[in-house]
Symmetry: C2
Subunit: 348 residues, 2 copies
């Protein structure tokens, strides 16, 4: 049941790519951690599904559970901070499974000796504000302190749980379905990176970090069962989500490049840094697969919400090339390769 340690020099030590949300991380999780999920839930979604979270039957509902640790560097960045990130990330993972009204969150803080209390208070205030936006409460927590030099600042874990009558998976696409993104891509990763490198970009480049449960609730109210796949494009960005959608549903995905919304400041920063916004982390966006007959009303619902004004239809599931993502650049078509991992370490 449990595979032994991997042999071979290349496999002997953990690298940054193993936390970067791409192929390398997926392989590590599959090889190292899937055995912990055996036996999986008899009735539900467990670790093996590699979804945003787990789903377990409780009476006539599903209990959705998710967890995320956050180690973003720097902890304060344009548009947000590690506190807002951790609340939003967990609320969003629950929402992506169909749970838009969480029962509660847990919060475990690991902090370095010498960390300023004022910064901790600022992070708490930001968490409290994000909780209020999402209509959620922290119900239990844990605090650990590591010695000076043993941790670079702060690491926050947030787990979340809640009930839903319908679970939305990430494997539900079939040919003809349309794929929507709820707004501009690449903002979070590029905002953090420009702050880290102290780059000067014209205009206000800002993270999109936000709790999306209200936006997702609007989409589900409009689309109902015609919403067949959801995922938030965090590490690895939109490209990674489309690859997961394609692989899990065994469809091809045709991405219409020119219709993917990108902020001008984000595009400028991406150009300077030579990074494709399609592979950069977002923290306030969802990618939603919808049956064709419901596209218009889901799009209208998204655009009617403050966090979805720039929502757009960006792709289509096709029968050809199952598992692949094909990018139509407007000038021609090419395969969009899956990245080995997010190009930016400690982005979330």
């Amino acid at each position: 049941m449990i595979p032994g340690p991997l042999a071979g020099p290349a496999a002997e030590r953990i690298g940054l790519k193993h936390g970067a949300g791409g192929r390398a991380m997926r392989r590590l999780v599959e090889e190292l951690f899937l055995p912990l999920g055996e036996p999986g839930p008899v009735d539900g979604v467990g670790l093996a599904a590699m979804d945003d979270g787990a789903a377990l039957r409780v009476g006539d509902q599903w209990l959705i559970v998710t967890t995320d640790s956050h180690v973003v560097q720097p902890p304060f960045f344009p548009g947000g901070d590690i506190g807002r990130l951790s609340i939003s990330g967990t609320v969003n993972d629950l929402a992506m499974m169909g749970c838009t009204e969480p029962l509660g969150l847990t919060c475990a803080v690991i902090v370095e000796e010498g960390f300023p209390r004022a910064d901790l208070a600022r992070i708490r205030d930001s968490m409290a504000a994000a909780c209020a936006e999402a209509g959620v409460t922290v119900v239990t927590g844990d605090t650990k302190v590591m010695g000076k030099g043993e941790l670079d600042g702060i690491a926050l874990n947030t787990a979340g749980f809640g009930l839903t009558r319908r679970v939305v998976r990430d494997d539900g696409l079939r040919p003809g379905d349309r794929i929507l993104v709820t707004g501009t891509v690449g903002d979070h990763g590029l905002a953090v990176l420009t702050r880290r490198r102290d780059l000067r970009i014209e205009g206000a480049l800002s993270s999109d970090v936000a709790p999306l449960n209200g936006l997702v609730r609007a989409a589900l109210a409009a689309g109902g069962d015609a919403v067949v796949a959801m995922k938030d494009p965090t590490r690895g960005g939109l490209a990674s989500v489309l690859h997961e959608f394609a692989e899990k549903a065994k469809v091809g995905v045709l991405l219409d490049g020119p219709s993917v919304p990108v902020n001008a400041e984000t595009a400028a920063a991406a150009e300077i840094l030579g990074i494709d916004p399609l592979v950069v982390a977002n923290e306030g966006k969802a990618v939603i697969g919808v049956r064709p007959e419901a596209v218009d009303r889901v799009l209208a619902a998204l655009r009617g919400h403050p966090l979805g004004r720039r929502a757009a239809v960006v792709g289509t599931a096709i029968a050809e090339r199952p598992g692949d993502v094909i990018l139509d650049t407007g000038l021609g078509r090419r395969l969009l390769a899956e990245v080995e991992g997010e190009p930016l370490p400690r982005i979330c």
Copy 2:
């Protein structure tokens, strides 16, 4: 609602004591994190209760939720490792609230770049073994990598959740109730510390880390509603738990020192290091408050379980001196002061 940052030089930075499970940590949590718990659950146990976890109404049952991050140093120690610790710690927190059959656990790993994959595999195997012992499964997870030098090795977060018909709190004592401990105290903390300092102690000094849900199930089956308080004596040890019991229930606690079981090796190490085993972390013990009429059958049930062979009645709740813990040493009585924090950093 949200207090501002604390002023004053002594309060400006986080110290090791703020993660050490004693008074300093409780004050930090109260001042900094309780606002995240507002508004608390309308019907249930939230952050403000400072219990082992939270309890929320779901239909005619209670959903118990708990979280713990583990940063023990070294990650491998006599009798266990960080993997066994994280599974056991979370299973035990659930058990202390009355939930002995968890629905599942979440597991979030933060690992330092360069961490040996073989060590990660060893930790996973240990987690899998502890899961099997407890009859529990990891249902979802998360992986982050920090750069070389940004984290000292590995940090593991485990959250747990499950249902129970009856919640056992830690504030249920009344005068006349008896207090049991399920075995020897101080083993975990002193095993880790002697390994860290490379002390040579005669005999096998070993951590007690173990999942206790089976043992607690036996105690609850024997004692039923007469089991009125439970807590696992981790950071801050037995002394800390007794202080919490006394304060929350507004009773005095009379501790009969000579009846507290201590392993000879642990006592020897404690003596050499000048540390009182009463304030040292355990990871496979429970402290249980029981109505007097049920003491004998709960004690018999504990002793009939492999993890409870050395269970003992160690104290009594009294009407006098509410909030205080009085130690009867066998030679006389004195107040047992609450420690500011566990004397050993990164013990769990």
